[in-house]
Subunit: 700 residues, 2 copies
């Protein structure tokens, strides 16, 4: 952990600057919560009026606070914050939580004040959490610097890091109602200094924390987040809810890749790379977190379902299979064992339906049989209010089996009033329960996903040693902003091992005919212009010209078409190239994402990319496993393995092009976007050809 953050997580003494006796003020809440939290260090309340509060005498200024003191909680009005920080700095305090609002979130004036606060902190070498935040909570230390109304969260093993204070308040209250505790809570507010990435490692280092949950409205430094989160996720699961997906503005783009590579594609790629599990809703995040905190990881994917009625079993089977998980085929010995326990009319195959008469004995003996089955990876137990027994008596019988099992078992307690006590029995033993089988299935799927993640060694991004980076840089450094001329594109890509077909630039019809003769008929003609991105859209491309006359007429035609569509475009002539061999056409592109850097795309090529949307994304440079997954995640990629009469294509060549293009863009941030469309992937063993490539450079 960064030593400068130590005082936030293990403070020896805390000064509350702005502690107040007025219950309507935040300074009252902070003083109350901190003194009542059981915090084992020293608490100093500071207010110029002095007096007494919470049975403690109040210091008139921070200068008079005795040792130890290494953390300040600042709750004075925004305008008074700069002075308060200076006073803290003078007292030797190097860490402050600024709970006060009235900064960037209220407009330009507040933003200016926040900038000043940031400058002061840098001057004083002081770390800041906030402003405009709820502060920190640690239920085990314990410590509570928030001003939230009681009750505080119960101690638990799920940590929550949040960009929103209101979401913290809601989650604390909701979690207590859902019967799970929190370990640490960090409200980051405006993040004028400390951001989500900074606190990942400190929070993960807490021995009580088994799962980290994140509410994110953005990420400040994408690559650093991936690095830090990637370290954490090897050890502890991280589940993130990222919101604000519709808030982001659109950027100006000139490629299919750019048009499709939105902020969401980049976030998904980043979470994928870092091993962060992305939830779609708050409930999903905490449904998953409870299972991750409390259950062992499954050694295999097959799920067994144990129910006392057919309907819920069907619901569970549907939900399990919809999530791509197989239902376990039970071993013969298991089936025999179940038969020994259950009435003849029961179903002893998965889902196991014990019938409505099932009580504690049937539930516990059948569950024992299922967890003992080697073909079962995890179990979902379903319990609508049992007609002849209480749900809690059944749960009490289940607890010892679940606690003793090395396999995850989750319980769907279907109901509310009749299952409330049963739910409490399970929660006390850290066994996750869910109201409906659909949510229980979703939790199991997350456990399976996490198990697969930890079982896979961290893949290394591929960096080909044979690339000639200096050669590419030489071309790029001297090129103007905008689209790179075609010859330079060929040189840059060739330096990265992606060969373009030989192309001749003809400035007259006679030149074109001569070039065609040299390259060999039939040829393609393509108007050469740095100002026309989609040349085929304007009649600027002609294919399959098989003699001199056709080339001569074609030369005139493509130039005239281009001129008509773009009267002001520079026309450098016409490119002539030998018609390429056949193959499957895909698109391989890359853009610079403002948050995460190089982002590559693979998918179905052609002119309809944005309509068909058969594409996948990853951050570059990327490991071969991710490139493989991108191909398998698209129909265009799966088709490379062959489809009906379409022969198996040179899939390795496509992966190679994807990896190399990613490396190129990662190593040359001036490339805003580059797109091979199509990449023609020839039959197996014959490689791939970058038929058409466009590359655009940034201004600076």
């Amino acid at each position: 952990m960064d030593a400068s953050l130590q005082p936030f997580f293990h403070p020896a003494g805390i000064a509350v600057i702005g502690a107040s006796r007025d219950p309507a003020k935040l300074g009252f809440g902070v003083a109350r919560n901190l003194t009542q939290s059981g915090y084992p260090g020293v608490i100093h309340l500071v207010n110029p009026r002095g007096g007494e509060l919470m049975g403690r005498s109040v210091h008139r200024d921070v200068a008079s606070v005795p040792d130890p003191v290494d953390l300040a909680v600042v709750v004075v009005p925004a305008a008074a914050v700069p002075d308060a920080l200076r006073a803290c700095g003078a007292r030797g305090i190097r860490a402050a939580i600024i709970a006060s609002g009235g900064f960037r979130e209220v407009g330009a004036e507040g933003a200016a004040l926040e900038a000043r606060v940031g400058e002061i902190a840098r001057e004083l070498d002081m770390r800041i959490v906030g402003p405009n935040c709820i502060g920190l909570l640690d239920t085990h230390l314990p410590l509570d610097t928030t001003f939230l109304a009681p009750p505080p969260p119960v101690p638990g093993d799920v940590a929550f890091i949040s960009h929103s204070g209101a979401i913290c308040a809601a989650v604390i209250d909701w979690a207590s109602g859902q019967g799970f505790g929190l370990s640490r809570l960090v409200s980051l507010g405006n993040q004028t200094d400390v951001c989500e990435t900074d606190v990942l490692a400190p929070v993960a280092s807490d021995r009580y924390t088994r799962v980290l949950t994140l509410y994110l409205e953005g990420i400040r430094d994408g690559r650093r987040f991936i690095e830090q989160a990637g370290l954490v996720t090897r050890d502890k699961p991280v589940v993130a809810l990222k919101v604000g997906r519709f808030a982001a503005g659109q950027r100006a783009v000139a490629s299919h890749t750019g048009a499709l590579a939105g902020q969401e594609a980049a976030y998904n790629a980043a979470f994928q790379r870092a091993g962060v599990i992305r939830a779609e809703t708050n409930e999903e995040m905490f449904d998953w977190a409870r299972a991750l905190a409390w259950c062992p990881l499954p050694a295999r994917r097959e799920i067994a379902v144990l129910t006392n009625a057919g309907g819920p079993g069907v619901v569970a089977a549907d939900a399990v299979e919809a999530l791509g998980l197989p239902l376990a085929a039970l071993a013969d010995a298991t089936v025999a064992r179940l038969r020994g326990v259950l009435p003849a009319a029961a179903s002893v195959h998965n889902p196991v339906d014990m019938l409505a008469s099932a009580g504690p004995r049937e539930y516990s003996e059948c569950l024992a049989a299922l967890v003992a089955d080697e073909q079962v990876g995890a179990v979902m137990v379903i319990m609508p209010p049992p007609p002849t027994h209480s749900a809690e008596s059944v749960c009490e019988a289940l607890v010892p089996i679940i606690r003793a099992s090395s396999k995850p078992v989750v319980v769907s307690l279907m109901g509310e009033n009749l299952v409330r006590r049963a739910s409490a029995v399970l929660r006390a033993e850290h066994i996750p329960d869910y109201r409906f089988p659909e949510r229980a299935a979703s939790a199991l799927a997350t456990l399976v996903r996490r198990a697969a993640f930890v079982a896979t060694p961290v893949p290394e991004p591929v960096r080909f040693p044979d690339v000639r980076a200096a050669e590419a840089r030489a071309v790029l450094d001297h090129a103007a902003a905008g689209f790179l001329p075609q010859d330079d594109v060929a040189r840059v890509l060739s330096a990265y091992g992606i060969d373009l077909p030989r192309i001749a630039l003809a400035s007259t019809a006679d030149d074109a005919v001569a070039a065609a003769a040299q390259l060999g008929f039939p040829v393609a003609l393509k108007v050469a212009s740095p100002d026309i991105p989609h040349k085929s859209d304007v009649g600027g491309v002609l294919l399959g010209l098989s003699d001199a006359d056709a080339v001569r007429a074609g030369f005139v035609a493509v130039q005239a078409n281009a001129r008509r569509a773009h009267p002001l475009a520079r026309l450098d002539g016409v490119h002539v190239q030998h018609m390429l061999p056949e193959g499957q056409e895909v698109i391989v592109g890359a853009v610079q994402d403002p948050q995460f850097g190089a982002l590559v795309m693979f998918g179905a090529g052609g002119t309809e990319v944005e309509g068909v949307k058969d594409v996948a994304f990853a951050l570059a440079p990327l490991p071969r496993t991710e490139a493989d997954a991108m191909l398998d995640g698209t129909w265009a990629g799966r088709k490379l393995r062959g489809f009906r009469q379409v022969p198996r294509a040179d899939r390795d060549a496509a992966v190679d092009a994807l990896l190399r293009l990613g490396q190129l863009v990662a190593e040359h941030p001036r490339i805003v976007e580059v797109e091979i469309n199509p990449l023609r992937v020839r039959p197996e063993g014959l490689g791939a050809v970058a038929v058409d490539v466009r590359l655009r450079l940034h201004r600076d």
Copy 2:
């Protein structure tokens, strides 16, 4: 309502056959619930042992039960049910709920017993609900024939019809915990007689029922369900959870349409046609049902969000936009009004962020401003535990505004313990509350969808009067099972107004050359065989042959290729046709669904249909609006409106072909599958050509 079902819903007297004093028996539970339910009719308890139960004397047999009695609840062991039914029949009872289990659900012997029960019922002209069911509940009559442990559901306005008794038990308990009541509950069990479709109208006719919810494991008679549900949904919303999607076996198919037209596509098309809203989970179904029962329908789609913190506002905006709903742009007057109420730092644009200081006054005045805004269709109010006020004081202030509003308002009460009383305040006033904005947004989206549905008149399926059904029937009636020969296909489609290009069948190479000369070069050759479905997959197709020599050589080649791939196939010669004009290629297909009959498909054509999966389905015959929606629901269909250099195609011709193909299959159930692939849709005004068509007939 079917008069024979009247005794289930308005019984004058009920006999409990098998009423028991043993609390472990279902017959005890039924007697207890019925006598305690407040049922206003006459209750007769029947048990051969006689005696007394629940303060009533027990009849020794049903013969001795006095008038009135028109409904029996049978809870005797399965083997005794036939005799019990006969006794009831002799007493003049014509309606029975068989709660007992031990029938079809326990295997072959039980199924035989159930078949006997069905025969007896038909003999006696008796209607049966069950066996193996929980029975009926009406909280308003009131009436409770179930054996479920108390408490019974509280009276409400949501009806629940279920194929699973256990799901009934869970829903009753869960609903009471969620604070909403049920109006009627029907557990259908094995449906040996009365099925889900039968009870739709009777349940919908209940004046207390505002929404119907259905838990379905299947539908017995698809077209009848659509007809009955379609009548109900014009009047009251119906939300269905259909499970068992993975249980269904695959059928044998020979077309892309058949391969893609699974049971789920058919159910979705059926729900779409009937106006039934399909939920994916139990929670979703009741989240939506509460909103549909309690809220007015919005007159427009624009949503306003009112929050006291930024984070929840972002979550809400994300959720609203992810569901395809626009955030309302507030009128200037509204913005001014909000400014008058809120501090300067608040955000007065949608989402409206009142800041954490907001209390009852701010919430209520801002909500009043939002519902008064003509540009707002519906409002989501968000309330994390307010730091300075109680959530219930805020809700109390909101209630009068929400009750007075003609626009729907839903509330996201984020938390649990701190918002419980607030939740009770809202529920008592029939205002739906949800824990998180995501679920509140989903409820609003359902209201918007329902509003659009009721605003649209029932569209009429198109039946073209110009079709020559008798001509098609004459061909089909005389054709053998399996693939119809190409000439007959042309005749059948032509009778339905779908013209195939002129085709000549050549049995020798010379014939082929002559035909090509007559049709005009260039031509296509296609091997003619009823046994080879995918002719292009076996080299059985050659395109663009431009002279006699090419045709001669091609004739030999396609026959040889086909012979090699299918040595046993019948070869009728080779079809010759003039090469077709250009156009966009789509697929139009239809199959007979075993549940719902004719099901049409539209989408991206070619050989990769099953990989690309850019397809949409509807039941046929279909209204033009549904055909339009199918086209707009696929990229292939949207592209017909033009895309980049691809000109606008004759979209109307594609719709026409889809409607006509649907009508053909609907009117000729012997057609198992028919597929036009591709249908080449020419530029606007030039029509569409069915380039290749295959049609397969059923055996009988």
